[in-house]
């Protein structure tokens, strides 16, 4: 059997894969977000309320967390549709901060003192199931009709629209589903961390998710897996060098971006075709 430390690490790895896939999906349509932490927070708090106060089974809490985050994702998505690139990143960043500050001040769920005493419901099994479902989803979407539409929108919105693609529908569904995934990640996180407060879902969380996806590569969902593995496990492996580990980690990122700007996995499309 795995010892507790390793099991916990694998659970965090799985949660990071879920969060990375929550950004990978909208990113495949060119929608970059620095606010996935906000959707994660909504999922975490909603699932916490559902298990701690309402007492529903974990599966129901997961679904509820996903739906709640997805709904907020759709609402945020509407204004976000008109903009893209760096402006969308700023908008989502603002959104993430709004959510964080909301939960910081929302007394019913503990406000600044956080929401504790959650049951440990996120086992390795549950995480594995969610990760597998989302991976199957991501792989299936690639090369499908909707997958091509996402790619077309990422490459050139105007042309995609002139070729008959309903931009609003494609972008909104990608953004909304990404929010659902982030909500699931938040629910899994809450029931493994057992204590949540607003600070855990702030800008740094969003930036970490962004980093995982960029590091792994946007070209394929496997990039999200590899990126999550590196970001979750490498700092642990670097523990022997203690206070230098984050410096080392940061340097690795810099080197990575110089040598493989398209990410660890998602080889640049050119290379994929030309072998």
């Amino acid at each position: 059997m795995l010892d507790q430390y390793r099991e916990s690490l694998l659970i965090f790895l799985g949660i990071n894969v879920v969060l990375a896939l929550s950004l990978y999906l909208p990113a495949s349509a060119g929608l970059l977000s620095l606010g996935q932490g906000g959707f994660m927070a909504i999922g975490a708090y909603v699932s916490a309320i559902l298990t701690a106060w309402v007492g529903v089974p974990f599966v129901v809490a997961l679904v509820g967390a996903g739906l709640a985050a997805g709904l907020v994702g759709l609402l945020t998505g509407f204004p976000a549709l008109r903009i893209r690139g760096i402006y969308l990143i700023i908008l989502t960043m603002g959104f993430g901060e709004i959510v964080r500050i909301f939960f910081l001040n929302f007394e019913p769920t503990g406000g600044a003192s956080g929401f504790g005493g959650l049951a440990h419901l996120t086992g390795l099994g549950a995480v594995t199931v969610v990760v597998l479902l989302l991976l199957v989803f991501a792989v299936q979407v690639r090369g499908s009709r909707i997958g091509r539409a996402l790619e077309a929108v990422r490459e050139d919105e105007l042309t995609a629209e002139v070729m008959g693609i309903n931009l609003t529908r494609v972008k909104l569904s990608a953004f909304g589903l990404g929010a659902v995934w982030a909500g699931l990640g938040g629910a899994l996180y809450a029931h493994h961390a057992l204590f949540i407060d607003a600070g855990q879902f702030g800008f740094f969380r969003s930036a970490e998710i962004f980093l995982i996806v960029l590091l792994g590569g946007l070209g394929s969902p496997w990039g999200a897996v590899v990126g999550a593995a590196v970001v979750t496990l490498l700092p642990e492996l670097l523990r022997p060098i203690q206070e230098w580990r984050m410096t080392f980690f940061g340097s690795l990122l810099v080197i990575m971006m110089v040598l493989r700007p398209w990410g660890l996995v998602g080889r640049s499309r050119r290379r994929m075709v030309h072998g």
């Binding site: 009709r145 909707i146 539409a149 070729m163």
Partner: protein, 252 residues
């Protein structure tokens, strides 16, 4: 097929298209010509919904499409190519054509999820077959797995054509399809445009190569500074005094 009625497009104080009327008849090859900046591409952008007109109406097959979203107009059967080629550069040739099948096929995330990994679904196979057929039509079969950005300029223009045909348009808008082509390539394009018309597609094109315009079109509309200055069969239009003036200057 297409009725443009007193359509005007202003950008700030600049009138790019000034109360233009054009009627494109079913089954014709209709050319829209004029000096640079005459408003030809703006007309294309208005017809395809990329830009909303400031005033005027545009009707396609009797349906008023003024102010419609581009994808809805495309769904009705209007397809176009771009003067400054706008392919999906990181997609292969066949994928570019497959994207344009979007409005003729169904299926979102759920359909994608229900696919079996070892068997391409019938609808997907059909989409690929249609796309490959069209690459064949434009002579790009051998390049179907090349990335769009790796194609030569002429190949890219042909791919734009194949992609537009994948929409199954009733009206095809070609924005300077011969730009950058050599005379033999233009002759080939000429044959291709006629072949497309024979399949029942109405063609509206802008072009600077007058030889192509004169040979291929049934009707020519001439724009200058956003206004229509002449219209008629190519032989008549080329002798029209206002056309000569617009192209060569006064006194020509």
């Amino acid at each position: 097929m297409l009725e443009i009625r007193r359509v005007r497009k202003q950008f700030g104080g600049f009138t790019a298209v000034d109360d233009v009327d054009v009627t494109v008849e079913v089954g014709t090859i209709h050319a829209l010509i004029g000096p640079n900046g005459a408003g030809k591409t703006t007309v294309f952008n208005l017809v395809t919904g990329v830009l909303p007109p400031t005033s005027g109406r545009i009707a396609f097959r009797g349906t008023d499409v003024t102010g419609w979203r581009p994808d809805r107009i495309t769904g009705l059967g209007v397809a176009r190519t771009f003067q400054n080629i706008r392919l999906f550069r990181e997609m292969t040739a066949v994928e570019n054509a497959m994207v344009a099948r979007h409005c003729r096929t169904r299926g979102g995330f759920l359909r994608a999820l229900a696919r079996l990994p070892w068997r391409e679904p019938v609808s997907e196979r059909e989409t690929r077959r249609r796309a490959e057929e069209l690459l064949e039509v434009v002579g790009l079969s051998g390049r179907r797995d090349a990335l769009a950005e790796d194609l030569s300029l002429v190949e890219q223009r042909r791919l734009e054509l194949a992609r537009a045909l994948a929409v199954e348009p009733a009206l095809l808008l070609l924005d300077e399809p011969a730009a950058g082509m050599t005379p033999p390539e233009i002759r080939e394009l000429n044959r291709l445009i006629r072949k497309i018309r024979e399949t029942g597609v109405t063609v509206l094109l802008t072009e600077h190569h007058m030889s192509l315009v004169m040979e291929v079109s049934d009707v020519v509309t001439v724009l200058s500074y956003g206004r229509k200055i002449a219209e008629g069969p190519p032989a008549a239009v080329r002798r029209h005094p206002r056309v000569l003036e617009a192209y060569l200057g006064p006194g020509a």
